[in-house]
Symmetry: C2
Subunit: 160 residues, 2 copies
């Protein structure tokens, strides 16, 4: 969950980044960032983001949303992520997840869970030793069944 004061903090931080780049915090951008903050676990696509931002800012156009996420990606405020559905999704980097994180994609309910633990240190060391490849960044998506869906499956079995 995100608290109101945290939201204000992040917004301020982002406004500063924009201003340093000579850009403006327009109502449209503000609404877009707020929506991303409020849904920071959801990995929204452009269309989804557009639909949500419209609740706050009904006049906004889809093109503006695309342009805003473009700007935010350049300023490293959001990450662009592409899952196997080929659709680009956006994912805020809050102060506590500055480094890239991993995704657990549930194949039952479609939920995406982030994990911030650094699980790959060892893997990256191996890749360096065995292939001479110097790792700078990584994308890891694990597909499977989440805890909730497993519990539901178990429940269904018990009910028989």
């Amino acid at each position: 969950m995100i608290t109101l004061s945290l939201l204000t903090d992040e917004l301020g931080r982002i406004e500063t980044s924009l201003h340093q780049a000579g850009l403006k915090l327009t109502p449209q951008r503000k609404a877009t960032v707020k929506t991303l903050l409020k849904n920071h676990t959801r990995h929204l696509s452009a269309e989804e983001l557009f639909a949500l931002v419209k609740e706050d800012e009904p006049e906004i156009g889809l093109a503006t949303v695309y342009r805003t996420v473009e700007v935010l990606a350049e300023l490293k405020i959001v990450n662009r992520v592409t899952f196997e559905d080929g659709m680009t999704r956006y994912d805020l980097r809050t102060s506590d997840n500055g480094h890239f994180h991993h995704h657990l994609l549930c194949q039952k309910c479609g939920k995406v869970q982030e994990i911030h633990e650094d699980l790959l240190t060892d893997v990256e060391k191996q890749v360096w030793q065995r292939f001479g490849f110097k790792v700078l960044d990584h994308r890891l998506t694990l597909m499977g069944i989440c805890q909730d869906c497993l519990a539901k499956e178990q429940q269904a079995k018990d009910d028989l």
Copy 2:
């Protein structure tokens, strides 16, 4: 490298899969599969594949290439892979790489190298223990600098 006899073997195996599904090995499909076999390390996009197949089969249409990879994906003969550029690429599963493999994407030269080692056993165990998430499949892309590019960089330094 792929030898001629290996290519014939794989083609035969694929023809059988097609026939089992009531599908035909047309010249277009044959040319597409051959191109995929010959370039099995390259992770071709539809357009790239189309351009290459055209050398063998100049009459082929782009739509046919799309339909062919669709069929091949359903038969688990190719994997669909999406990198961060958002473009879908296709990647043959030969008999020796039936399980899903990882990718090393060089940010200097754009080359994609596959690694077949199973590096994630430990990671998947941790995810199960810590999050109760049951992993069924995974996608891992490591971005960085490949051995060749590192060597070139080193060379450039030495030349100064």
